[in-house]
């Protein structure tokens, strides 16, 4: 199983969001997609999810361009809440069950129980931490091949973060590709094995976290500073 980005480019009116990104991602890895806000991480993920059509280049999953069919196995979780206002947490699960053959209601129930989320709660009344947990629960309850989580740690407290991380690690089995975007480097350092840097809409390197430590004696955060910072820290 592999996910390829081949010269993927997305131009919006007056702005290039993703420029000529080429890389190949393999199963059995958790990738961090790192870069400052607005560097193009979300746009690239949405291209993989088939929500945005590339202006040039393409995204291929198992040697076929991503399309309606690939949505069956590529699960995407956006940063912002996207559920309908009238839904309860239970309705969200039913919705996923109605549309995704890989959705496991038992796993959803289990995840909700672990996160102490009540199925009867209305989604519009949820706090940001609860919403973050719900989004993770419903996304990870899919037995997908690829999971893309866009900023899963944004605006949530420490305990919710722990919960989110635990869930990700529990279901990141060796036959999956997992991609987590963030601008919080330290949070992801121990959890991911590889990191992709995106800088000003362009690909800016891919590294293995442990290799950085073994070969260069630096942490992911150090590397991040090296790539994005203007002055290298002492």
């Amino acid at each position: 199983m592999k996910l390829e980005s081949i010269n993927a480019t997305k131009k919006f009116v007056g702005k290039v969001a993703v420029e000529d990104i080429s890389m190949t991602l393999d199963e059995g890895h958790i990738y961090a997609l790192l870069g400052p806000n607005g560097s193009g991480k979300t746009t690239w993920m949405k291209m993989v999810a088939g929500l945005i059509k590339p202006s040039a280049g393409e995204i291929r999953f198992n040697d076929k361009p991503v399309d309606i069919e690939s949505r069956k196995t590529i699960a995407y979780m956006s940063t912002e809440p996207f559920f309908y206002d009238w839904m309860t947490i239970g309705d969200v699960g039913k919705y996923y069950q109605d549309f995704f053959a890989d959705f496991l209601m038992d796993r959803y129930d289990e995840l909700l129980a672990g996160m102490e989320l009540d199925k009867l709660l209305k989604v519009r009344t949820l706090s940001s931490g609860m919403m973050a947990k719900l989004k993770i629960a419903v996304t990870m309850a899919r037995d997908a091949a690829v999971y893309m989580l866009d900023e899963p740690l944004n605006g949530i407290d420490l305990l919710a973060r722990d919960e989110v991380m635990r869930t990700i690690l529990t279901y990141a089995t060796p036959e999956k590709i997992m991609i987590i975007s963030s601008h919080l480097v330290e949070e992801l350092e121990a959890v991911v094995d590889s990191v992709i840097f995106i800088k000003d809409a362009r690909f800016a390197g891919i590294h293995e976290v442990e290799e950085l430590r073994i070969n260069e004696g630096i942490s992911l955060a150090d590397k991040y500073r090296e790539v994005f910072g203007k002055v290298k820290e002492a």
Binding site: H29, M165, R166, L169, T173, A190, E210, R213, D222
Partner: protein, 121 residues
Amino acid sequence: MKYETNLPIYLQVVDAIKLEVINGRIKPGEKLPSGRDLAVQYTINPNTSARVYQELEAQGMCFTKRGMGTFVTEDYDRITACRNEMAQESLKKFLTSLYQLGITKEDAINMINEANDICLL
């Protein structure tokens, strides 16, 4: 667990598990968590936790029974040896930092004798 920024994460987890074995929180022969559970427990990547067990096995601190999981070694000599190795490492670090401060070995011994006992537990 908080990780040092300049050491490989798998080695830090290896040290943490060895410490648990040495101080008896994990008993010889005891079954260790699965790679996935270890990943969740230490919030580390599953590939890193696989590497942790490879390293522990290479060091003779644990062994794998096919289909049953990973177990702590029952070889008490190995555990004692491991304790000595870790002590040596700490000692080396300690002496290095004292050396950097310009303190001789004799002064250091005096300082140790004068210091209050540290209660860790």
